[in-house]
């Protein structure tokens, strides 16, 4: 350790203190590593470098295998067995009965004609939600990213502003907006002030659906804005200069330079936001609880209710619904992998 370094470390008591704490943790960390090194060197001498490669991947594979892969396989078992017992040996094989129950409909456009009308309604609600929400999510994120990409003062600050709601938990977001939108809430007070009528936002099916879209875009757009912004900033500036020299106006530069070069990022954002939208649950759970009626019940809520919140646990139905949802997600995942593949 050199002398100048030492002197700078004692300039003020606060730095000295934090350096002391830093050194303390560092030496503890090093001590742990050294102790483990003795153990693992012994291990390495027995199993070799190749063996260590397996050793390093093992903890991850164990957790992954037990809590993700096994359940994925078991999910099929549940989907094809009946009864309300969660233990595997207490369940009887019923073939495709659960899936049939979910998808038996005289007319798929009329949920009332379905055996399990709640599920069909949930699927319909989810489908509409995904399409509308992803559209607005992309549009708002893109506009915000384009604006943040301009030569503005305080870009870092504004980037954080739009990102802040991403940190809030879905439960908090749901409760917060419920308070704002209630009958005697601030929004209704503003509506009355500007001469409009009071609206029961959470008692009307279409208003509730609309607000679910609005609050989910509000709470997550900052994340996609960041990704799009990174995409925009990776577009080389000389391309714009070249376009200017060719006499292109701003609009043409946007269509012929920005959009095509942003496409790979856009596709990733579309896929990510779609996958996320398909799983919408907790924010709505706190916001409307699925209501009014079944207006804002989505697939995950159906799974949750049948598997964990109803009087008789319909694990078979829940798993069959999971299976249906998983197959949709897998399609998106494959799409995502293809996109990443073409990117690299």
């Amino acid at each position: 350790m050199g002398l100048p370094n030492n002197r700078s470390r004692t300039t003020n008591p606060f730095t000295a203190m934090s350096n002391l704490i830093d050194d303390f943790f560092r030496s503890i960390f090093e001590f742990i590593i050294n102790v483990l090194d003795v153990v693992f060197t012994f291990l390495q001498n027995r199993i070799g470098i190749k063996g260590m490669a397996y050793f390093f991947v093992l903890p991850n594979l164990l957790i992954f295998g037990i809590f993700i892969l096994t359940p994925m396989v078991l999910n099929f078992f549940y989907a094809f067995t009946g009864g309300d017992n969660i233990l595997l040996d207490q369940r009887t094989y019923v073939g495709t009965q659960n899936l049939e129950t979910l998808f038996t409909c005289e007319n798929f456009l009329d949920p009332n004609s379905c055996r399990e009308d709640l599920f069909i309604r949930a699927v319909g609600n989810t489908a509409v939600f995904v399409v509308v929400q992803v559209f607005w999510m992309i549009l708002m994120s893109l506009i915000t990213a384009l604006i943040l990409n301009r030569d503005i003062r305080g870009r870092g600050f504004f980037r954080s502003v739009f990102f802040y709601p991403v940190l809030l938990s879905p439960i908090v977001v749901g409760l917060m907006w419920r308070w704002i939108l209630q009958e005697n809430g601030i929004l209704n007070s503003i509506l009355l002030d500007i001469g409009l009528e009071r609206i029961s936002f959470l008692a009307s099916a279409s208003w509730a659906r609309l607000w679910v879209v609005v609050i989910s875009v509000w709470s997550l757009m900052g994340f996609y804005t960041l990704i799009l912004l990174a995409g925009l900033q990776s577009i080389p500036a000389d391309l714009y200069e070249a376009a200017s020299m060719d006499g292109a106006n701003e609009w043409r530069k946007f269509w012929n330079v920005t959009l095509p070069l942003l496409m790979p990022t856009m596709l990733v954002v579309v896929v990510l936001s779609t996958i996320r939208a398909v799983q919408v649950f907790d924010v709505v759970f706190a916001f409307t609880g699925g209501g009014p009626g079944t207006a804002t019940q989505y697939i995950v809520q159906y799974i949750y209710t049948n598997g964990f919140a109803s009087a008789t646990r319909q694990f078979g139905l829940a798993s069959a619904a999971s299976l249906a949802m998983a197959s949709v997600l897998i399609v998106f995942t494959l799409l995502q992998l293809r996109l990443r593949g073409t990117e690299d």
Binding site: F67, P71, R150, S160, V161, Y164, I171, L175, I227, L329
Partner: protein, 346 residues
């Protein structure tokens, strides 16, 4: 259409600049407004919360202790016939009539028309909701559970995934690509899709109503493996080889060469992990049914789930729930936003 490209110079303020700053101002209002509204509301008395139209600041009626009365009495301004106002305290209401008393002269009861009374109010940021909330809502307990889950899970996530990523990026062995593909293949299969069987496994292990059941299942995240592996691929193999020549064990290479060099990627994963775990709801709700084990999110939801939602308490507890993550963000926002932007994935 200047706002569509990034080549706008800084000459003079033209209309696109005005539009830009207008958008940013409006955006700031929309992003922070709802949170601020909750914060202001959380200081209001129950009574003030239900007054319509709502006011921004938390007002409270002035109270005065009058000799001969046990409870403090609310103060009002009472219009007199000549148009002047007199400050009186209200003893009780009888229909439309209010029985008032002059605090300076407590013996004499003055009767007044209740509808003409103007309450005397002042702005008070009262912590009463917070105090009552903390008593009826086991905030400290839930907070501690959330902290334990977040810290332990993040540590475990970093350790387990960085080890796996090290193995998958720096060694050649049979089955390596298969392992990587299987992990990546489930990148988008979240735990909400496998709720029932995952719950069975937790039950079989005996981890329901145990924080371990919340912490461990999500620790091996495909996102983490992918992010760290991509980053570690950029670390040159020569570094490892020269360390081996110097006699370093594989463990030492991992802990003292790879980990420090992968710092930025580890930081991003840590941020993600903290965000996921602090805000996680569905899985903890299923695993934890005993209220002393609830995390903040589960507790908050159970708290509002009662038939009569007690907004004054729910609002205060909501503010307390978002406070820690807001503080962390305020200090680390630059790292968080640039970190996420550079890795560009979730």
């Amino acid at each position: 259409m200047g706002f569509l490209s990034n080549t706008n110079g800084r000459e003079s303020l033209n209309w696109t600049d005005i539009l830009t700053y207008l958008y940013l101002t409006l955006g700031t209002l929309l992003m922070f407004g709802p949170v601020l509204w909750i914060v202001f509301s959380s200081f209001k008395t129950e009574r003030e919360l239900y007054t319509f139209p709502p006011r921004l600041l938390p007002y409270q009626q002035e109270l005065v202790t009058v000799a001969g009365y046990d409870d403090p009495l609310p103060l009002f301004e009472v219009p007199q016939e000549d148009g002047s106002l007199v400050t009186l305290a209200r003893v009780r209401r009888v229909g439309l009539e209010a029985q008032m008393v002059d605090p300076a002269n407590p013996a004499e009861i003055i009767s007044a028309d209740n509808t003409t009374l103007i309450p005397i109010e002042r702005v008070v940021f009262s912590l009463a909701n917070y105090q009552e909330g903390i008593q009826s809502f086991a905030f400290a307990r839930y907070f501690l559970n959330s902290v334990i889950v977040t810290v332990v899970a993040t540590f475990l996530t970093l350790l387990v995934n960085s080890m796996a990523a090290f193995s998958l990026s720096k060694y050649q062995y049979r089955g390596r690509n298969t392992i990587f593909l299987v992990i990546i293949g489930t990148l988008m299969v979240p735990i909400s899709v496998i709720l029932v069987p995952a719950f069975l496994i937790i039950t079989q292990i005996g981890w329901n109503n145990n924080l371990l059941g919340v912490i461990v299942p999500g620790a091996a995240t495909p996102t983490g493996v992918f992010l760290l592996r991509q980053y570690m691929l950029t670390i040159p193999d020569e570094l490892l080889d020269s360390a081996r020549i110097d006699g370093a064990s594989e463990w030492r290479i991992y802990s003292q060469i790879i980990l420090p060099l992968a710092g930025p990627a580890l930081a991003v994963l840590a941020i993600f992990s903290v965000m996921w775990r602090w805000n996680d709801f569905l899985w903890p709700k299923i695993v934890l049914t005993r209220s002393e084990l609830f995390t903040l999110q589960v507790g908050l939801n159970a708290f509002q789930g009662d038939l009569q939602i007690q907004w004054h308490l729910v609002l205060a507890m909501t503010v307390l729930t978002i406070l820690p993550i807001t503080l962390v963000f305020a200090f680390l926002q630059r790292y968080i936003t640039t970190g996420i932007a550079t890795t560009g994935m979730k």
